[in-house]
């Protein structure tokens, strides 16, 4: 099945629908599942919640109790997933070619898909949204309810303000010592920033850190409209101009910036995926989830 394009995804805000389509194109088994199947030891019954798979409902118990119960299996996954979303004001940058698509929406789709995959595999996952100088945290947990919580939080996120400063971020992201997989989506226009420091620190704590750097086609090609004046959404009241004469300088400055970003990430052994938001999310997800891409 062909990968679902960004233009198509820009039409809906229903994350569950998006997840279903993107993951259908991606195919199953991207990530090695742990402890699935018959060998799992029974732990407890739990009341059915919307989103649970039907095959996990205990039908005999339904016949006896006239209620839906789900068999919970004892699992001890050692890996927790953390989805880190940069929702500062610059993430509202729209695609200049596809209406209704912006960096935040794209990051939202990517992280929702990762969360859905984690939920299907039985991994615990949590969400941290960095927006307006604050950290909003959904603690790591398992199960379909957790997915609903994460999706609801993602839907509410608005791109505003700056990244939280280093102190706030350090107190907000208290990860356990257990090994974690960290997926961070940002535009990395601020570098070094509090987010970059945190990612490097987490990598030094032996966590698996993977960053996706979101860009737009217009940014990469330097093809902005030269008519209007521009301002930096996080940079105060200064006014900027774009024109054909400034394109070369713009591309040079930009390449220099992202070269330094890539160098820093590589030096710290953080996986970096460059993604244009006009790309199909499936492609980006495939690169992002690639096992051993770095090792």
């Amino acid at each position: 099945m062909a990968l679902v394009s960004s233009a198509l995804l820009a039409h809906t805000t229903d994350l569950e629908l998006v997840i279903r389509h993107v993951l259908a194109g991606l195919g199953q088994g991207m990530h090695a599942g742990r402890e699935r199947g018959a060998g799992v030891e029974f732990s407890e019954y739990r009341a059915y919640a919307p989103g649970d798979e039907w095959r996990r409902v205990d039908w005999k118990l339904l016949a006896r109790a006239d209620r839906y119960y789900v068999r919970e299996a004892e699992r001890d996954s050692h890996v927790a997933l953390w989805l880190v979303l940069d929702a500062s004001a610059s993430m509202a940058e729209p695609s200049r070619s596809i209406d209704g698509l912006d960096k935040l929406g794209y990051a939202r789709i990517l992280l929702a898909c990762i969360g859905a995959i984690a939920q299907r595999q039985g991994d615990a996952f949590g969400l941290a949204v960095l927006s307006g100088g604050r950290v909003r945290l959904v603690p790591a947990a398992r199960g379909p309810r957790q997915l609903q919580r994460v999706l609801a939080t993602l839907k509410q996120v608005k791109a505003e303000g700056d990244l939280p400063d280093a102190e706030v971020l350090r107190s907000g992201l208290r990860f356990t010592a257990s090994p974690a997989l960290i997926f961070a989506a940002s535009d990395f226009l601020d570098w070094p920033s509090s987010l970059s420091n945190v990612l490097v620190r987490l990598r030094h704590m032996r966590h698996d850190v993977r960053a996706v750097c979101l860009q737009t086609e217009a940014e990469c090609a330097g093809s902005f409209d030269s008519g209007p004046a521009y301002r930096d959404p996080e940079g105060g009241s200064a006014v900027f101009r774009f024109g054909a004469d400034l394109r070369e300088g713009y591309l040079r400055n930009r390449a220099q910036h992202f070269d330094s970003v890539s160098a820093a990430l590589r030096a710290n052994d953080v996986l970096q995926v460059d993604a244009r938001i006009e790309q199909a999310p499936g492609e980006v997800l495939r690169q992002w989830l690639r096992q051993g891409g770095r090792r």
Partner: protein, 327 residues
């Protein structure tokens, strides 16, 4: 000069400036990667754009209306005009109009006394090439009038209205008084009565006893001052004494009835002059050439009511629109 108010018209630039000024702003779109671009000076928008055009128009109209109300404009709209004094013979009027070639001209009927004054006050309403014809028994003005339009005056003296003053003579020697009144000439006619009535204008009281208290008249001539108590506080004018009382004005003199023609004429002349308005003298027919004299009467307020109404309506609309914009 009211027309100096037109110099206030530049105040219309104020609302235009207010509504224009708001557009002098920089509109900048957010661009995440703006930091890779060089800074520039904020540019003002070159596009001539307006905010709240309806409100601007209403405000300009409001100001213009207020200035017009103060300046009280007059638009020349009257062409050739025939001014006919009220009560003029219709046949004669037609004849004169046709003779002067004013057949198609508009006609204005006015009281004869006010005709020339009305033309002077409304002169600004006449078009520059308009001609005027004035017909009827127009009284002669004290000063030679001047007009900015050619004006032809054709007059027809009306016969004097039949009318006479009623005089009651209460005297033991009525013949002497009657002889005096019979000698009266001029426009004033006299009807002599023996018994005073309610319409009596002059009572000659040549009796030593006081008149009945209920008897009233505008003027009394008394020969015996003792008959009238109000004469106690009278004022003297030669041999004549006069006073105002409840029953009317009293003239008293011991020298009455006058014995010589000069005294009689003087008495009758004084009475006629003081108690009867002079009859107007019909002006002779003549033509007035246009002069450059300034129009008399700065304003006539022809448009004031309309402008005031428009001013109030526009003010209400302006308030409503301003309020609606704030909501």
């Amino acid at each position: 000069m009211n027309s100096l108010w037109w110099l206030a018209l530049p105040t219309l630039l104020l609302p235009i400036w207010w509504h224009r000024k708001k557009r002098v702003q920089v509109k900048a779109e957010p661009l995440a990667s703006a930091r890779f671009l060089p800074r520039t000076e904020p540019r003002q928008m070159r596009v001539w754009r307006w905010s709240d055009i309806v409100l601007l128009i209403v405000r300009c109209l409001l100001l213009a209306c207020a200035i017009a109300w103060l300046a009280d404009p007059v638009f020349p709209w009257r062409g050739d005009t025939v001014v006919v004094a009220a009560g003029t013979d219709a046949q004669w009027t037609e004849r004169e109009v046709q003779a002067a070639g004013f057949g198609a001209a508009a006609r204005v009927a006015l009281p004869a006394q006010r005709a020339l004054a009305w033309i002077g006050a409304h002169e600004r309403e006449f078009k520059p090439q308009a001609r005027l014809l004035v017909l009827g028994d127009i009284p002669m003005p004290a000063l030679l009038p001047q007009f900015r339009h050619p004006l032809v005056l054709r007059t027809l003296a009306k016969p004097l209205p039949p009318g006479a003053a009623r005089v009651a003579i209460v005297s033991k020697r009525p013949q002497e008084w009657r002889r005096m009144f019979a000698a009266l000439d001029g426009p004033l006619r006299v009807v002599l009565e023996n018994v005073p009535g309610p319409k009596t204008e002059l009572i000659v009281w040549d009796m030593p006893e006081a008149p009945p208290a209920a008897l009233r008249a505008p003027l009394w001539w008394a020969t015996d001052a003792g008959a009238f108590t109000e004469l106690a506080q009278s004022q003297a004018l030669g041999t004549l004494r006069y006073a105002d009382g409840a029953r009317g004005r009293v003239w008293a003199s011991n020298a009455w009835p006058p014995q010589d023609p000069a005294a009689a004429r003087a008495l009758l002349e004084s009475w006629r002059t003081l108690h009867y308005a002079p009859l107007p003298y019909t002006a002779p027919a003549q033509s007035f050439a246009p002069t450059r004299a300034a129009a008399r009467g700065d304003a006539n307020g022809a448009l004031r009511d309309f402008l005031l109404l428009a001013l109030i309506s526009l003010f209400a609309i302006e308030r409503i629109l301003t309020h609606a914009r704030r909501r």
